[in-house]
Symmetry: C2
Subunit: 354 residues, 2 copies
Amino acid sequence: MDLETLARSVSEWLKGTGPEADIIVSSRIRLARNLAKFPFLSRADEGIRAEIENQVKDRLLGIKKFGPITYFPIDGMAQLDRQMFVERQLISRELSEAKGARGVAISEEQNLSIMVNEEDHLRIQVLRSGYELDACWKQISQLDDELESQVTYAFHEHLGYLTACPTNVGTGIRASVMLHLPALVLTKEIQKFFQAMHKMNLTVRGMYGEGSQAMGDFYQVSNQTTLGRSEEDIVNTIKTVIPKILDYERNARARLMNDNRRGVHDQVSRAYGILKTAQTISSEETMQLLSNVRMGVNLGLIDDLEIPQINELFIFTQPAHLQKIRKERMESAERNVARAAYLRTKLIQPDEMN
Amino acid sequence: MDLETLARSVSEWLKGTGPEADIIVSSRIRLARNLAKFPFLSRADEGIRAEIENQVKDRLLGIKKFGPITYFPIDGMAQLDRQMFVERQLISRELSEAKGARGVAISEEQNLSIMVNEEDHLRIQVLRSGYELDACWKQISQLDDELESQVTYAFHEHLGYLTACPTNVGTGIRASVMLHLPALVLTKEIQKFFQAMHKMNLTVRGMYGEGSQAMGDFYQVSNQTTLGRSEEDIVNTIKTVIPKILDYERNARARLMNDNRRGVHDQVSRAYGILKTAQTISSEETMQLLSNVRMGVNLGLIDDLEIPQINELFIFTQPAHLQKIRKERMESAERNVARAAYLRTKLIQPDEMN
């Protein structure tokens, strides 16, 4: 798979399939792993980094169980392509902006991505559409076992897996779900949701992880602790809370529809109208309007759009994707015009365009 | 012509024809006249009012030159119908809300309306689409002459026509044009325009005359003085200033298109999108969005709408018209829903509605 194919492809996790896909966009588990024979990256010079990449790369390409794997070196990759990888959630901003030998191994469906030389030597990620934490866990365990049969991980018999940052020591696991919570935002209950998550030792972040702003009413909920509990335990904590979150959001949606169906329909319908007619539009406004439209489809207020189409638009209207599609670098103002044109093309049916 | 036919008909002045119709919606001249043998209305009891109406009514119905005339008594008319007359500019708010015997005579095309027992015994109005002050003046003079051949006006050889309010003494004439000035509003030059009009002793008002707010970027410019100058002089003062106003607005439009074509196109296009998709919308927002769309059509940015359609929407989306069309009384919230539905029906082409 080359970069251009990747930029045009639709990742499996965007397909809008899987359980609870009206609220749970995707499920994700990542493991932080380090190789015993190399120092942590904070103490690794460029030579060591290169050696890590070198040793790991071939083993990653050798994984057979999950279909063909492609390894993309990030060092030397154009900024636009790195940003495209970030927008698709295949790599972190940190990996994109780091220096030196580093890269990412990606499966064809883009469910699997293994970052090399991010904060740890290896960051193994499995990402799936909908509520699929169990499937993620099953797949990532297999992958982890396969890798562990080939390399020796840094492991301490009392502490568990050793990681660059103490917060990851132990299991090195972070399990998360990406939630679409527009009704909790509209009913101003989202703060209550934050507090509830905090009390349960769960972290809430924006779409692009640590430090990223919540955009388009998307929130990532993940575990905080990785030490002293089993991986299954940690995944189960998230699984315990998910039905409650689904209830919160669904109740809020039902209340909105009950108390102010017309107002909700109006907001959703106008959002759709603006997306179809704007001549220039920012990424932030696009996210917000798409969020309204996504809720509208889920509430049965819009019937000529499907969730997968909207999920795709969230990604393909982002700056790097837009530039990849247009095959040119564009400044922010040009992007806003290109984004509006792209949205019109995708949202207006041929027989509306006379 | 009955009330229901009137409510559904399109007045000639809305047709968007006539010179400079991109900016000048309509031209209007009115004359204030009183009958010599009756006291001014401030000193007229109900009996005198009724007698005035009685004497005048038959003479108005007898006018032949301008096609069939219908006389609508306003006393006893339902509030909704009175409001509908105000929205169409056939009567003033004052006549609508006054008490006692009063009415209005209207020609078929609604160019001609003669209010009986408003502030003066007679308020004769001619209203035409586009820049047609000369045609208005010609028609109203004929009408005035015809009436004067049948009744004796209160007239003083030095002062001229005597009127209830001293500001109308002399000619009793008010000549005005209704201007659509969206670009002067957008470029924030509208205050400069107000000042220029003020210096020339011209008055600027909103769409519905004295005390009405400017809505939808519509402004009525009219003369202040009526004494000591001939009618032609007064009409000419307005005619002198019109080319300058047209220049102001057209320059502002050209500058907007030159400096920020994309931004203007975006605003216009979104306004059209919202009007097509809103599920509830206030009268004020409708006026503002229609104003943007009207400018968009005039600038060639929207090509599937015509000015007459938009002019009609300005009137038919107003509260009383909306209720007349739906044949039911509606509260404000219901009207907003009905208005949005009406706009969608009128603006969405059949093949867009799948």
